[in-house]
Symmetry: C2
Subunit: 230 residues, 2 copies
């Protein structure tokens, strides 16, 4: 049994929920806010970051890097999973490409785009002392998002999936980031058809369906959020 401490609109939590779905792991979900200062949570993860996966009679896994590699190493036999060739398929070079892209989405995309939308539109709106969103910052993040969409489009036109022939953790990490922005209705899908087609393929996977049921109090998802034909 697994317990996942997560936040519904945390992109890193979502990437691990997608992994769990693909590997047919059904963790008990426990919600924690990304800005928590709960000392009990810091006892579990001194970095104070999400997600955290607790394995019954096993280790406490902190962060998407440790969790994804652990699940990749210990996952059940491939026949039980939807992800036929594992989270990091291919040879060492393809796995390096998957990891480069995971880093791209977890660090570069997050810092260029996601963090701004999350802070300005989600955390501020759910904070009783929150101020109005900073329009200038959101505009810059929106511009960055267009560049990233084009990069996703280019990769998905050159390859079957983002890092190669097979679906990998790179696709799940990328889709997890985009899904939070899609909840807000902030992804300009008409800017890049190839990126839209790639996202529609990930969004249609059974592992994605629990994400589409997420609701954050006070924040109604965009009209296209649950639509598979957006």
């Amino acid at each position: 049994m697994y317990t996942l401490i997560h936040y519904p609109l945390c992109p890193f939590s979502r990437s691990i929920r997608l992994v769990a779905g693909e590997l047919k792991i059904d963790p008990l979900l426990v919600e924690e806010h990304p800005h928590t200062s709960d000392p009990e949570f810091f006892e579990i993860n001194p970095a104070g970051t999400l997600p955290v996966m607790i394995v019954d009679d096993g280790p406490v896994l902190c962060g998407p890097y440790a969790i994804s590699e652990y699940l990749s190493e210990t996952r059940p036999s491939t026949s039980d999973t939807q992800l036929n060739n594992g989270l990091f398929p291919g040879d060492a070079a393809v796995r390096a490409e998957t990891r480069r892209l995971v880093d791209w989405f977890h660090v570069k995309f997050y810092n260029d785009v996601s963090i701004c939308f999350l802070e300005e539109k989600i955390y501020k709106s759910t904070d009783p002392d929150g101020t109005a969103p900073d329009i200038k910052m959101l505009r810059a993040a929106h511009q960055n998002l267009k560049t990233h969409l084009r990069y996703i489009g280019t990769l998905s036109e050159q390859r079957n999936w983002l890092s190669g022939e097979d679906l990998s953790f790179a696709d799940l990490a990328a889709a997890a980031q985009l899904s939070c922005l899609d909840y807000l209705g902030d992804v300009p899908w008409d800017e890049c058809e190839a990126a839209r087609i790639w996202y529609a393929r990930v969004k249609s996977r059974p592992s994605f369906q629990s994400l589409l049921r997420d609701r954050v109090p006070g924040l109604i998802p965009s009209s296209i959020y649950t639509n598979l034909d957006f």
Copy 2:
């Protein structure tokens, strides 16, 4: 043959140089500035980050995550290396702990401490248009550094090395960050004896010696930088 694109006082480049030293890989070193806007470098790594490892007749590996995992998967037999049990030794749980700590030093320590010292004391001093260092920011980073030193001390008192019985990439990632600050003479070693003892053990390893020979023009290293008995 391997080529490593690096910067002498980039902590991520240093972590990979330590890995290379431990695995008895002797890459050709090519220097690039962390703030480069050279389009040729962005062709190699679209993220524009360091380090990049180019494997002859093999892949281009971008970033410490992809490089460390690739070298761990493809490293020569253990008898040829100093790192007897690999970069990620132990069982899956210990490897998850190593990766948690790599994340801790590459993300949390870097953002809490290193980035401030690097920007304020190194990049500004080597930039002809650079302004004076921001003393308030440096003071905050120095406070954070004390907290991190105590954490390193606690871990090294509970375990033989930071993530467990064996030296791992966690130790190299941590020492790489600290070594940049030690060049500047900014590590308050007298604040935490256990952290000092742990660092002295890493600093004494043969893999560390090339780092101690680094010099950045216009920046003289602190008097204790090369001293193994500091």
